[in-house]
């Protein structure tokens, strides 16, 4: 499906916040492609016992026709390095991958526009955007408020408050082991597609 709007999920915050609030589908309420850099998906899901991780994996798998996992050089290098370095962790991997994706020259063609969905203004400051009139940065709460204004959801604050209570509920993913083999395989399959483009 070709649309004029693309949502770039450029850090893990929106995915985890929406997953915790059981609201990931809100990303699909508008007519736009959803693009998640491979490293951002990795950061959000590499440990299935972490908050929201299992929900994010299942959501991405269920909506592969709407969601593109964008391959990046940053993640490719990281993935190669961790083959020889156990428990390798790069705190800014997702951020670097996001910058790489946004700066790809063919990401926005013609009249296409981009929404950068993130919790961090720091990401946008690192991006060299040729035409800032085509890209707008939104926080998760901004995005939810716009959906609420258009009566697509009942309450942005309710979603945010649910996420804010994350620690008060026992995690539903605690039953998953830290290195659950099936989950790890699912993540690897999601981020290793050669083209990263949505399946038709």
């Amino acid at each position: 499906m070709t649309v004029d709007l693309k949502i770039f999920v450029v850090d893990t915050g929106p995915l985890i916040t929406l997953a915790v609030a059981r609201s990931l589908d809100y990303l699909l309420l508008i007519n736009a492609d959803v693009i998640i850099p491979d490293a951002v998906l990795h950061e959000a899901t590499f440990d299935a016992s972490r908050l929201g991780a299992q929900d994010i994996i299942e959501w991405v798998k269920a909506h592969r026709n709407r969601i593109e996992i964008a391959p990046t050089r940053a993640y490719q290098v990281f993935d190669a390095a961790r083959a020889s370095i156990a428990n390798l962790h790069e705190p800014d991997l997702g951020e670097r991958a996001a910058v790489e994706v946004i700066e790809e020259p063919d990401r926005l063609l013609g009249d296409e526009r981009g929404l950068l969905l993130c919790e961090e203004t720091a990401v946008l400051r690192r991006v060299v955007v040729q035409d800032r009139g085509r890209i707008v940065e939104l926080s998760t709460l901004d995005f939810l408020r716009l959906l609420e204004m258009e009566q697509r959801i009942q309450s942005a604050e309710q979603v945010f408050e649910l996420a804010g209570k994350a620690g008060r509920f026992p995690s539903r993913v605690e039953k998953f082991s830290r290195h659950d083999d099936a989950t790890q395989a699912a993540i690897r399959a999601l981020v290793s597609r050669p083209s990263g483009r949505p399946e038709s």
Partner: protein, 70 residues
Amino acid sequence: MAIPESEALAAYSRGEMTAIELRRRLGGITYGDVLRLLSEAGLPLPRAPTAGREAQLALARKWMFPDHDG
């Protein structure tokens, strides 16, 4: 001198520190850990002020909902 975890969390909750900086200060924790720690501390999630971003938000709304009349 490193600031205590509670102070870093409070600063993040007030919007005075980014999540990435908080995660680094707390030893490379995930954003999910940030949510959990905030919740356990009884602190609200930071809310980015919309003042000064009205035009950007209006543009985003127009792109998200091209049939919008308002």
